[in-house]
Symmetry: C2
Subunit: 405 residues, 2 copies
């Protein structure tokens, strides 16, 4: 048995573009700290722990680590497994067998919950296990955390993608729907507001799950914008809901042929976008009038996995929370979720702190009502919140800047 | 009436990320050449010409021009109008009214055809109009041209997007279909081959319109890869076809509920991807077996309009063909399409030449059969062709480089 014991790190849930930054932060900081004998990387999260599927991370060269840090998705593999008590018991058994004293779990609120349960089991059994949750989620929906690593890069992709699509839509006018990830929280869709660079730029309408939306309001909104501007660019969260509490996706699923389309799922499918486009065509096409040009794109996994286009702030912070997890360990902290908060002041600056796992686990955070306007727009307050997380957007220009049209 | 006469420039067809580079190339070179009194930018291509909707481009400042050059989609506005003889007459009339001596039309093969007809009309009427076609298309399907501006950047987006998705798919294994633009030509889908960085990396299957595909072969291919690797990443062109000459999209359209989905269109819809995913689930899900995780993404307009991620080679060449159109004009050339060819040698180098509009107009170019292997893969020969056009891809890394798995 090793003298200092060992540590395990794993990655969980939907990948992000910077989740490996956190991993590399832990690996490199652990090497400096010399806190344990072995740092073991669990393949596919908790699944690797119960299956004894580990990679030794102590001696991985920095050259490779730095390339992995720039690589999207979980380099150790991820998992959608949500361990129950029995599964957590098996995790704990594996830890006992490998003399694991520190467990670092990179993930969202479900992962924080797994980490919490495993930690509680260990405490009950008198095993000296310290558990650290390292946040990641493009949804940005962790309570207590000001924001989460992974969000800024996904938001940057969304803002840039919608910015480009605005110019496309201006170039060949029509009605365009862009469906953005975010099942329960509208943070990612809201970030599309940053795409507006000139007056009249889209997105002209922004729909988030936090603002219930009737079909009537949606169509009236689109009609109004299109009638005025001759074009309309819409961003809609995959999780938009109706006043009756159902999501649009659920409502749609009951209307369309499941056989032709398999199971309705929100991500990895263009069904909601196509449904919204078809609805617009069906309800707003004037009989005998010029044919409406309606299109929909679903940004899909590109939002969380596109390489080479991360937010520099996001990449830096993802690395930082990994490093801090080890620093807190070395300082003898008992464990928790490594969170960020803003330091008050004119310039954007963050500091980290530990928050108990129970404060982050399970429940999700939503867009503050002050960030939403008229059920179809996003406020200046949100722009101020999100801008530093996204960082620099591509430079663009338009003849509108000189031409009086 | 002006002494030197005037010039008109317009943009047409589906936008690209670098179409404004060509526009700016013409504007700046024209300023240097002093060939005309006024350079007029037609709003929305031929439509602006017949509607007398122009912007004066002579005095636009370089600072704005350089920002516009970096902005995706047609800054002057584009059009899908395909002028008939009567429309071309109206174009010609507008040119006569404005004493237009040079016409620069940035577009694909349809635009080359429009340019050709207007040029012939002018010649017949004894009007001294010189017509230059400046190529752009993400489809890369212009005859005579080695490749076309706009393609390299779209190909870079596709290659990087699929590269990221490969890591995502490896992280959370399953079957994933990515639908790529390209109605008749598979150049863009083929570029996804560049995503492979390690052994076993996806895309594992690549389907292009040039290789007719049966449902049986598709399913057998997917089954084989998935059985062996436990995952499967597929790229499929939106225009993939069947041996009977129908496209899969057409075949699908006759099977699904048009009311729920509106008109079936290839781009701006996730229908084909969803159809392929549903087909896989329906036919390959083992009864009672572990549920297959099948997802589809349709890359959509992001491929042609994503800002800040262009191929540097593509941006430079798009600028160059614009500049060269004016240089050829100043040299007294009679007109034509500004094409690129590779200079033989070890390093990638191109030179431009003029090819008659008739050689480029209408018909499209397809992937050479030597670029396709087994109806589901792309060859090394294509990789050599495409690599310099795409330029540098994001740097990535994987633990597979050290772990014997």
């Amino acid at each position: 048995m090793a003298a200092k014991g060992n540590a395990v790190i794993g990655q969980s849930g939907g990948p992000t573009s910077v989740i490996n930054q956190s991993l590399v932060g832990v690996v490199q900081e652990m090497r400096k700290a010399g806190l344990v004998d072995q740092l073991l990387g669990a393949r596919h999260g908790v699944r690797g722990i119960v299956n004894d599927d580990f990679i030794a991370l102590n001696d991985v060269k920095d050259e490779l680590l730095e390339r992995i840090a720039q690589t999207p998705a979980a380099a150790l593999g991820s998992t959608r497994d949500k361990p129950d008590q029995a599964y957590c018991q098996n995790i704990f058994k594996s830890f006992a067998k490998h003399d694991v004293r520190y467990f670092y779990y990179i993930g969202g609120n479900d992962s924080a919950d797994t980490a919490r349960i495993v930690g509680e089991l260990a405490a009950r059994e008198g095993h000296a296990l310290k558990v650290f949750h390292i946040p990641k989620t493009i949804d940005n929906d962790l309570r207590v955390h000001d924001h989460t690593p992974g969000y800024g890069s996904a938001a940057r992709f969304v803002a840039a993608g919608v910015m480009g699509d605005n110019f496309d839509n201006k170039s060949l006018p029509g009605i365009k729907v862009d469906v953005i990830m975010g099942r329960h929280a509208g943070f990612l869709t809201a970030a599309s507001v940053l795409a507006r660079q000139h007056e009249n730029d889209g997105p002209h309408l922004i729909y988030v799950p936090e603002a219930p939306l009737t079909e009537e309001k949606f169509l009236a909104d689109v009609d109004r914008v299109y009638s005025k501007q001759g074009r309309c660019l819409i961003t809609a969260s995959e999780g938009i809901g109706r006043p009756d509490g159902k999501t649009w996706a659920e409502a749609m699923a009951s209307n369309i042929d499941r056989d032709a389309h398999g199971n309705i799922q929100l991500s990895g499918s263009g069904a909601l976008g196509d449904f919204l486009a078809a609805l617009i065509t069906k309800k707003l096409q004037p009989p005998g009038g010029k044919k409406l040009r309606v299109r929909a794109d679903t940004f899909g996994y590109l939002q969380r996995s596109f390489p080479g286009f991360v937010s520099e702030t996001d990449a830096r912070e993802a690395r930082l929370v990994g490093q801090m997890a080890v620093k807190y360990s070395a300082q003898g902290e008992a464990g928790g979720s490594v969170a960020m908060k803003r330091v008050p002041g004119a310039d954007y600056k963050i500091e980290t702190f530990l928050t108990p796992l129970s404060t982050v686990a399970r429940e999700t955070k939503h867009l503050d009502p002050s960030y939403i306007a008229d059920g179809n727009n996003i406020t200046e307050a949100f722009k101020q919140y999100v801008r530093p997380l996204v960082g620099k957007l591509p430079v663009v220009g338009s003849f509108d800047e000189i031409a009086a049209r």
